[in-house]
């Protein structure tokens, strides 16, 4: 399709590095000369709240936000957050979920039915143990880049394009860990 827009909806919990992941995706799209808009709301991100980033790219982008039933990809860095925003994925869209559980403040135990409810809505949702893979790559905080690697399988950019964008964005001394995290994430699901 000529004027095809790609909509990537990234969600999770404040402090998980969601904004960096969407920044890297935006850089890759910008470098390809595409029109691109990326939207999120600042202010509460560091205080443990739910965080959402919208990335839209293609030939000509107008609205900076993705609406319900529109996302080609919904990548959630936390399980409960995937369920909170699941209505944003379009029919046939890809759902990639970090199986990590982060207990919301005020809740005593994590609800056990989240996986099932996600699968009820999207039977082919993919679960990635990004926390373990991040640890394997060398740092727990690389969860965001593991997830980037996982959902990169469904976007039409080359591995080199992704890696160049990662190298340009992350702190120098963490490049190696982040590239490893990206590869582990990319291998964790098949595109």
């Amino acid at each position: 399709m000529a004027n095809k827009t790609t909509d990537v909806f990234i969600c999770g919990v404040g402090g998980q590095g969601i904004l960096l992941a969407s920044e890297i995706l935006s850089d890759v799209a910008l470098a390809k000369g595409l029109d691109i808009k990326k939207s999120e709301v600042h202010g509460m991100a560091q205080r443990g709240g739910s965080v959402v980033s919208h990335v839209r790219y293609g030939e000509a982008i107008y609205s900076p936000v993705i609406t319900e039933g529109q996302a080609d990809i919904l990548a959630s860095f936390e399980k409960m957050e995937a369920l909170r925003w699941i209505q944003f994925v379009k029919p046939g869209g890809k759902v990639i979920v970090n199986s990590q559980e982060i207990l919301p403040s005020g809740m005593e135990t994590y609800p056990p039915t989240i996986d099932r409810k996600i699968r009820e809505r999207v039977p082919d949702a993919m679960f990635v143990d990004a926390l373990t893979l991040a640890k394997e790559a060398g740092h727990l905080r690389a969860v965001n880049i593991v997830m980037l690697g996982a959902f990169s399988n469904f976007l039409k950019f080359t591995e080199d394009e992704w890696k160049a964008a990662i190298e340009a964005r992350v702190p120098k001394k963490t490049i190696e860990i982040n590239l490893e995290a990206f590869e582990l994430g990319r291998a964790a699901v098949s595109g």
């Binding site: 850089d27 600042h42 202010g43 509460m44 107008y62 319900e68």
Partner: protein, 581 residues
């Protein structure tokens, strides 16, 4: 070079490229990043945080008197604070180009209301420029300065959250210097005594009509041809939503929407059976159309006035369908006071002592959430102190012993100082608690007059709250270490028992700024823990219950001895760093 910039970054870039020499602000979401980015160009632009928007406005206006291009930025409610200088500045414009940026917050992502500041342009009789993406922010800012200088008027430049915080591609240009105009004393328009002001009002009305004529043909207002049967009028971010909702339609996009180009709009509306008017929050454009007798429009009667719009809401509200899809019910994940937050001790203590508070705008407003539940009122910047005094006058001095005013350091500097003077002057017995983390934390850590550093990174004088209290007549004023639970409790008890007004300054750095001081996480000795639940009442995100109802600490969140409030409140000493337990 083509780069991605947020709308706020684009304003800063625009200041650089369009020759701005002075920029001022008080931080407020979603506007804060404007000045944080202007400071990157500090070799070319003098910039500063002011104590509040009114002062920021007056400094910017003074710089305009001084003959340079100047910008003042604030969030929507900030313009209420600056409304006094705004309303009169409009008649004295005419020196250096003067742009006022208002960043409105439809949806109230981080605000107490969703007022639509486009009405301020009409109220103050100044032009309103509304960009709809970052490139337009950069380009239109230049036009705004040209309008300001050509017509001798301040210009209101309106962003909304989705413009301020969305990143879109921008082509960068070079800085163009603009010659400074020489200051020449002229009281006929800079001194607004009634004799002058009466003449100025006539001038403003004429000016407005000239700008309206300009707006009729301004390139900022343009028609994009599409389906000859579907016409849409919109502006700002609403235009982007409307473009997505009606991709084939013919558009009248307004970038200079006040003074309203009524003839342009009338001609556009004549071409269609029905024209959709797409606006977020208030029917600002629609009112001009209806006032001019144009009735073939569909706007507010369909499009909701509460909350943010998006392309789906615009499409659904016009078509009457509901395509929102089904939501799954999931527990909310509200923001909370961070682990290690120094404000926690005050709210925990108030809760334990069954004392309420009139409170204020900042991170500490999160003290309203359970289990702290330490806040009775929160209205606007600085309201806490006046609210407390008023309640005391209505209900009596005994009540004041159970109601304190709680305000952050930056908010106190913004508009708490006058309230404190009022408490002293009008013989209140209010206990005023300044939660002093020595930074404007909520908006992402900006300096202010109480921190000792300027926006441009220079060391400077530091407001002394204790001396200030003494000078307004409050002798009971002292500092308390916010991380010492017993000291906090003793100070609050003593202050509320007293019939005299008291100022307590609870000192402790913002945990997010003190990462280097974080210690290893505490652990709970579950043998000793009696599951009394006292530590849970701190409402710390690091503490939860285990399967036996005993406390457990998440090592990823706990900041250890930097805080230690839980260890201090534990009656059986079962919380400590691992090697000590």
């Amino acid at each position: 070079m083509r780069v991605l910039l947020s709308g706020n970054e684009a304003v800063a870039r625009g200041c650089y490229e369009h020759g701005v020499r002075v920029a001022t602000a008080y931080p407020g979401t979603p506007s804060t990043e404007i000045l944080e980015n202007v400071v990157k160009y500090k070799d070319d632009i003098y910039c500063q945080w002011s104590p509040n928007e009114k002062v920021a406005f007056e400094v910017a206006m003074g710089a305009s008197f001084g003959g340079v291009r100047t910008l003042v930025a604030m969030k929507h409610v900030g313009l209420n604070v600056a409304a006094d200088p705004l309303m009169t500045s409009t008649s004295v414009g005419g020196d250096g180009g003067f742009v006022i940026v208002t960043a409105d917050d439809p949806g109230m992502h981080s605000s107490q209301n969703e007022q639509d500041n486009r009405y301020y342009a009409k109220f103050a009789k100044i032009p309103l420029v509304e960009p709809s993406d970052s490139q337009e922010v950069l380009d239109f800012l230049g036009t705004a300065y040209e309008i300001s200088e050509q017509f001798g008027t301040p210009v209101l430049f309106r962003l909304t959250t989705r413009l301020s915080h969305a990143k879109t591609p921008v082509e960068l240009g070079e800085r163009k210097e603009v010659a400074q105009k020489e200051y020449v004393k002229d009281t006929s328009f800079r001194v607004v005594i009634p004799a002058h002001a009466r003449k100025l009002h006539v001038k403003v009305e004429k000016r407005l009509e000239s700008i309206r004529e300009y707006a009729e043909t301004s390139p900022l207002n343009k028609v994009t041809e599409g389906d000859p049967k579907v016409g849409v009028i919109s502006s700002g971010i609403s235009y982007q939503y409307a473009r997505d909702a009606f991709p084939e339609a013919t558009f009248l996009k307004l970038g200079l929407s006040y003074p309203f180009p009524i003839e342009l709009a009338r001609k556009f509306c004549e071409r269609f059976e029905t024209v959709y008017v797409v606006e977020e929050n208030e029917p600002f454009i629609e009112e001009f159309l209806r006032y001019a007798g144009i009735t073939n429009i569909l706007g507010r009667e369909r499009i909701p006035s509460c909350g943010e719009l998006n392309q789906r809401i615009v499409r659904d509200s016009i078509s009457g369908e509901d395509t929102a899809g089904e939501k799954t019910s999931v527990s909310p994940r509200p923001p909370v006071l961070c682990p290690g937050c120094p404000h926690r001790s005050t709210f925990y203590t108030l809760n334990r002592l069954k004392i309420g508070s009139t409170s204020d705008i900042g991170c500490y407003t999160l003290g309203v959430m359970p289990p702290l539940e330490g806040i009775d009122t929160c209205i606007c910047m600085g309201a806490s102190i006046g609210n407390s005094l008023g309640m005391e006058k209505a209900i009596g001095k005994e009540f004041a012993k159970k109601m304190v005013a709680v305000i952050g350091d930056s908010t106190f500097v913004h508009s708490g100082m006058t309230g404190l003077a009022d408490v002293a002057y009008n013989k209140g017995s209010t206990t005023v608690i300044v939660l002093d983390n020595s930074i404007t934390a909520m908006t992402g850590h900006q300096e202010h007059a109480g921190t000792g550093t300027t926006l441009m990174g220079e060391p400077t004088t530091k407001l002394d709250y204790i001396k200030l209290a003494e000078s307004v007549g409050i002798g009971n004023a002292r500092r308390v270490d916010a991380f010492e639970m017993e000291a906090v409790k003793a100070a609050i008890k003593e202050a509320t028992d007293s019939d005299e007004a008291t100022l307590l300054v609870m000192e402790g750095p913002c945990a997010l700024q003190a990462r280097s001081q974080w210690g290893p996480a505490f652990v709970v000795d579950s043998e000793k823990c009696t599951a009394c639940g006292l530590c849970l009442r701190l409402g710390c995100p690091a503490i939860s219950k285990d399967e036996n109802g005993k406390a457990t600490i998440n090592p990823l969140f706990c900041v250890g001895e930097f805080c230690s409030m839980c260890a201090q409140v534990c009656p059986v000493d079962c919380i400590a760093v691992p090697d000590k337990s």
